[in-house]
Symmetry: C2
């Protein structure tokens, strides 16, 4: 009874208007796992180098994340560096040192193969296909991607999308992928290529959940101080997939709630660097903000 | 018992991916008046040239808009030309011929002076101040503005804002005006300079209503085909101010409903060129879409 995630584990160097941090814990699988752990058991597949700090393992263990599938390889851990602008919705990537991630070949342990939900974090589509070839048919496959793969690996990406139940991507990515500027039109066109649902992430403007019949909008939480938005998309995915798994049903009702739980966790994650805020949440924190989200869009008919 | 609007009346030449139209009815006061007319009596102040077509007067009369204050001056009517990109959220202004609007000096007829609500559409802040000096204290002053005045006439603009109850501006305008990229922070800072409420218009991402204590988000309506977004902001204002006036109370409840009525009318207006769709709405159309808006953000707690 668990959620399987395959993605990156990284050490990030991040500068925002609120400060600078070197070699802090990051990576899509890391952010996803801790977020999803508030709702479900999580099994992680990823790779780290010999220099991966003990605190990285400790935080995963503290959140009961199964790290049987976390490989350690000779060399250094994947590192990413970025600097956010004064307008924190924009950032520049300063460096990307793939290190051990360059030759990452995901291996799904036998003990993972019964995971009901699979989250394919944003890694090379060829690796996502490798993962899909190793799992028994999961009940739900949720996939994340990025503009780089639309530019460079469109063929493999389309194969992944065809096998995906719920696809997550940003507004600019869905426009680029479908060559259609209208988000609803682009999303509806994308639905014809495989996924049952598409979630369009709009950064500060929130997220849109779309299927053939319905549209649901979640607002961005009105945070006045965003210390570090790194990983917010992966945290959103973790809250979304984790809650959906815990709910025991995949319906319009639970999907909408899951989008709000994802938004809730993502908003908390932005309040501090790395996993610092995410690590210390309580279920009261989470359910409290979930209810605040209700009031943000409520009006009387 | 009416709403007074002072703004532009124009003939627009508009090109969008859906077609091209020459000398179609436009202008902020025109769009506002027709939208607000679905809820309240409207009194218009503006200026046209000798070439203003009879169909322009007819549509205002059809919507019971009082045009005692519509001056006709020697010369041509204000003309604006714009071309929208394939991504219809972006446009280029091709020309702006002020014509009779260049020497416009708003005169408020005596019969208008008891209007309870005043909408200052986006005109030169010095003209907005002229209007304010001519009216008895209205119950509510709602003001629109644009980046041009932030760049060129900041002193007068600040005087107008100081006297304004509800200020409407776009996300880029509030960021520029307050030199603060965070929308909530920028909006809250703006509230300290006069207005009781700020409405931040976010185009396709909807609108945000903000006061010192509350935040309310209205989503953008998921239109698949936007034929012509010209005037959407003025139509939003018309629906917002018109409904608020009709409701008879200015509370958090009616303000939120008014934002949704404004969004409803703006979404209809985008479905055709000029005032073509707006002209033909029924209250059933309006109330039907108002309820659809409810479902767009609804989730169970």
């Amino acid at each position: 009874m668990s959620v399987l995630v395959v993605g990156s584990v990284a050490l990030d160097t991040v500068e925002t208007p609120f400060g600078k941090r070197k070699d802090i814990l990051g990576g899509s699988a890391m952010y996803f796992s801790v977020a999803a752990s508030y709702f479900s058991d999580v099994k992680l597949v990823g790779v780290v180098g010999e220099d991966f700090p003990e605190r990285g393992v400790e935080i995963l263990k503290r959140h009961n994340v199964d790290i049987t599938g976390l490989q350690e390889e000779p060399g250094k851990t994947f590192r990413w560096g970025g600097k956010y602008h004064t307008d924190i919705n924009h950032r520049d990537t300063l460096f990307t040192d793939l290190n051990v991630f360059e030759k990452f070949s995901p291996k799904i342990p036998n003990s993972y193969k019964n995971a009901e939900f699979l989250f394919l974090a944003n890694i090379h589509p060829a690796l996502q296909l490798e993962v899909l070839s190793q799992v028994d048919k999961p009940d739900l496959i949720v996939t994340d991607t990025m503009n780089l793969w639309i530019d460079t690996t469109l063929g493999d990406l389309k194969k992944v999308i065809q096998k995906t139940d719920i696809l997550l991507l940003s507004d600019s990515e869905v426009r680029q992928l479908m060559d259609e500027p209208n988000l609803v039109k682009a999303g509806r066109a994308l639905l014809k290529t495989g996924p049952k649902y598409v979630i369009i992430k709009k950064g500060e403007h929130g997220a849109m959940l779309l299927n053939a019949d319905n549209v649901f909008f979640a607002p961005g939480f009105p945070l006045e101080d965003i210390k570090d938005p790194t990983g917010a998309g992966d945290v959103f995915a973790g809250g979304f997939v984790g809650y959906l798994h815990q709910s025991g049903a995949i319906t319009e009702k639970t999907l909408r709630q899951a989008v709000i739980y994802g938004s809730t966790l993502a908003s908390y994650a932005c309040e501090d660097f790395s996993l610092d805020r995410l690590d210390k949440l309580t279920l009261d924190d989470i359910n409290g903000r979930f209810k605040v989200f209700r009031d943000l869009t409520a009006f009387e008919v």
